[in-house]
């Protein structure tokens, strides 16, 4: 939450002493607001003012990092209730929960999924992000053995799930200095869990009972103990109650500045139903509405892929459309006689056009031009999808080496530039394609070189 210079000025001594190196308090405040000076530069700032200012300038929802190194994930840090207001910043993460009551084959299967559940889509690497390790048996040796096995098998950060602080301590030792998420502190064990979080420099999940006022009180005590990186579990285990708590928590943090609720949230669709399909549907609810760590019973590809794509959609910055890499995309093993189409590199345009070309079952070359992620009409209007840009692209992209013919199909909406393009694109004939992508299959089926 950025403070204005005036907000800061109100907290300064207003003596214009100049000890900070700036002639007036107002000028100093403006410099802080602009990020050109530090609050600490004022030697006369009262303690109250300093804490008020540092609190006010803290983000309303803390960004919390789980894990260490390249595979660490950052969740939280959100600033809005609705993605169109700005964007949702730090994509939620998923985790399959492995417990110490499972047989070895089940554990191995879940570890394999954790490592192999990866998909590349629109040049983004989609994966779960975390792995849950849960103590069911109450046998510390089993829990420790499972943690050691998981740690050896995957670099994904862990969520250690155990209610007994002594067992958790053994688990944290086994996990080494990997900053796993500790799940969870409750009213009964929070002092010991908070101490473990501090000792192992690990984030701490706080599990409530469904009552948000009680959760606020509990978090307050844990913050007082010095724990800064907190993840909230409202404690509900049915989607209707969970949605309500998640909406209230996000609103309280953003609109009411309730700092005890200004943390990312962990949710458990795996505990809200026994049906894996419904589990995925509830997980989808939390992708859209305010879940940051989403616990699942497994990462079966047919269910994980749709969830990862939903996350990709929801966390796309509305101001910055997803782009695909410009270049030639061969669809269906095209030959030197296959049609050549050109379109924009707005990912949605690319997906729809390539999908229709594929559906036509006519092999084709799709040339995707860099239009800075703008759609066909928008990029044309912005002067980015015009003959001056298309000519060097077609001449340079290498398509002339791929096909014998020289016929270029342009989007139907750009029919008006076909003449000009044909004049400038030496050696090529320009054909006007369909206006709507859905009409591409019949168009291609009758296309002849």
């Amino acid at each position: 939450m950025a403070l204005t210079g005036i907000d800061i000025f109100k907290q300064l001594p207003k003596t214009n002493c100049g000890d900070c190196g700036v002639p007036t308090c107002l000028a100093f405040a403006m410099k802080i607001a602009a990020g050109q000076a530090e609050l600490a530069g004022c030697p006369h700032l009262s303690e109250d003012a300093a804490s008020a200012l540092s609190e006010a300038s803290a983000p309303p929802i803390r960004a919390v990092t789980i894990g260490v190194g390249d595979d660490a994930v950052k969740v939280g840090g959100e600033l809005v209730l609705y993605r169109h207001e700005k964007t949702f910043f730090n994509p939620c993460v998923f985790a399959a929960v492995i417990d110490d009551g499972m047989d070895a084959a089940t554990v191995d299967g879940l570890l394999k999924q954790t490592n192999e559940s990866r998909f590349v889509r629109v040049e983004q690497d989609l994966k779960a992000g975390l792995v849950g390790v849960k103590s069911l048996s109450g046998d510390t040796a089993k829990f420790v053995a499972l943690i050691e096995k998981v740690k050896a098998a995957t670099t994904q950060p862990m969520v250690l799930m155990c209610g007994d602080p002594a067992e958790m301590e053994a688990g944290l030792k086994a996990a080494g200095e990997t900053a796993p998420l500790i799940y969870a502190a409750t009213a009964a064990n929070y002092e010991a869990m908070a101490a473990l979080a501090l000792a192992h420099k690990a984030p701490l999940a706080v599990c409530g009972t469904g009552d948000l006022d009680a959760l606020v009180d509990l978090v307050k005590k844990i913050m007082a103990a010095g724990v800064k990186d907190i993840v909230l579990d409202p404690g509900t285990r049915n989607p209707k109650d969970t949605l309500e708590r998640l909406v209230y928590i996000r609103r309280a943090a953003l609109n009411k500045k309730v700092k005890e609720l200004g943390f990312p949230i962990i949710v458990f669709p795996n505990e809200e139903t026994d049906d894996k399909m419904m589990e995925a549907v509830y997980a989808g609810l939390y992708v859209g509405k305010y879940g940051s760590v989403i616990m699942l019973s497994d990462l079966d590809a047919a269910r994980a892929l749709p969830l990862y794509v939903l996350r990709q959609n929801i966390y796309t910055d509305p101001q910055r459309p997803m782009q695909v890499k410009p270049g030639i995309y061969p669809i269906g093993n095209p030959t030197a006689d296959s049609p050549v189409l050109i379109t924009s590199n707005f990912s949605l345009t690319y997906f729809i056009v390539s999908g229709e070309v594929e559906a036509s079952r006519v092999p084709a070359w799709l040339c995707v031009m860099d239009t800075e992620g703008l759609s066909v009409m928008t990029s044309w209007a912005a002067g980015k999808f015009v003959p001056e840009k298309i000519v060097p692209f077609i001449k340079g992209v290498g398509i002339e080496e791929q096909v014998k013919h020289r016929k270029l199909v342009i989007p139907g909406y750009l029919a008006t530039m076909s003449g000009e393009l044909e004049d400038e694109l030496e050696g090529w004939n320009v054909e006007v394609g369909p206006r709507e992508a859905a009409d591409i299959p019949p168009f291609l089926k009758t296309w002849a070189s």
Binding site: H84, V247, M277, L285, A302, P306, N313, F443
Partner: protein, 314 residues
């Protein structure tokens, strides 16, 4: 924790069909699914798709539930009604698309009439969103199901004078279709209500993007329409909304591709069903009232989701 919102707006109620089996949608007094701070007297409903000609290029998982009825729209509609318990039927006049079948209004009117007469549940009739062609086809379709209080769509900016007028003239409802744009949605609502269609006869079609294929644009436009309806009491955004989910989802690459072709993507039916269910439930979260869907298993998941989120708990 006092963080409840109060809203000054309300979604209009709209009723499709007549008599005992009429279906009412809308009436919400809060953001979608926020049962903790408002009422939702009518749950989101599901219309199953029926096509006027046997579809080509459907993946196996989508064909299987309808394999015995795909070439007979009446049998198909009855199967949706009786076996899959659809709340409504959406008859898609795909064969009128100029670049494929190009059948005209007179050709499809008997099909519309046969389906309308065969089913008890309410009917939605959709053209192909080709403005010129729909202007010719949809008045004939509207006439063919006169007396059924059907929902006629899509009404485009370019043909509203013909298509919305046909809905008005034959005593139906209309679905104005805007290209993922709040202002055009409002503008089109203004135009067709000025034509004489009551606002209670209007269902907004905001354009549907499937999961992975523009869902986020659709989601945010619908969320913005709902926020305008609830917090700004903006009358021309307070209509229920419809989403054409089935036809968008089942042409997605990740849904059409078999497990044999992409082993890493897992079972094709599970993937397709979930793709459709996640698209539907995300759009319910954004404010959808009528979900036009394809796979019975995705319908079942969506129904369970609605029941869990709107039912009594605690």
């Amino acid at each position: 924790m006092e963080v409840k919102e109060t809203y000054n707006g309300k979604i209009r109620e709209a009723t499709i069909g007549l008599g005992d089996t009429a279906v009412t949608v809308g009436g919400e007094t809060s953001l979608p699914l926020y049962m903790f701070e408002g009422a939702a007297p009518n749950k989101p409903v599901i219309a199953l798709e029926v096509y006027d000609t046997k579809p080509e290029d459907w993946p196996e998982a989508a064909i299987a539930p309808y394999a015995d009825v795909l070439d007979d729209p009446v049998k198909w509609a009855l199967k949706c009604q009786d076996e899959y318990k659809a709340d409504m039927i959406c008859l898609n006049l795909a064969s009128t698309n100029p670049s494929t079948g190009d059948r005209n209004g007179a050709d499809i009117a008997p099909i519309v009439k046969a389906v309308a007469d065969a089913i008890k549940i309410p009917l939605i009739v959709y053209g192909t969103a080709n403005a010129d062609k729909d202007a010719e086809v949809m008045p004939k379709a509207a006439e063919a199901c006169q007396g059924k209080r059907a929902l006629i769509g899509p009404v485009e900016e370019e043909n509203y004078k013909t298509v919305a007028a046909a809905a008005l003239g034959f005593d139906h409802l209309a679905a104005p279709h805007s290209p993922i744009d709040v202002n055009i949605a409002k503008q089109l609502n203004i135009l067709i209500t000025q034509l004489g269609l009551a606002p209670e006869r209007v269902i907004i079609d905001p354009t549907t993007g499937a999961l992975g294929y523009g869902l986020e644009y659709c989601y945010s436009v619908m969320e913005r329409l709902r926020l305008a309806a609830m917090t700004q009491n903006d009358s021309m955004t307070q209509m229920p909304m419809i989403n054409q989910i089935g036809r968008e989802v089942w042409k997605a690459k990740e849904v059409k591709t078999s497990e044999a072709d992409e082993p890493a993507w897992g079972d094709a039916e599970t993937r397709g069903v979930l793709w459709e269910a996640l698209t539907a439930t995300a759009l319910i979260m954004a404010g959808s009232n009528i979900l036009v869907m394809r796979h019975p298993k995705a319908v079942e998941l969506t129904r369970q989701f609605v029941a869990a989120l709107t039912g009594a708990t605690n």
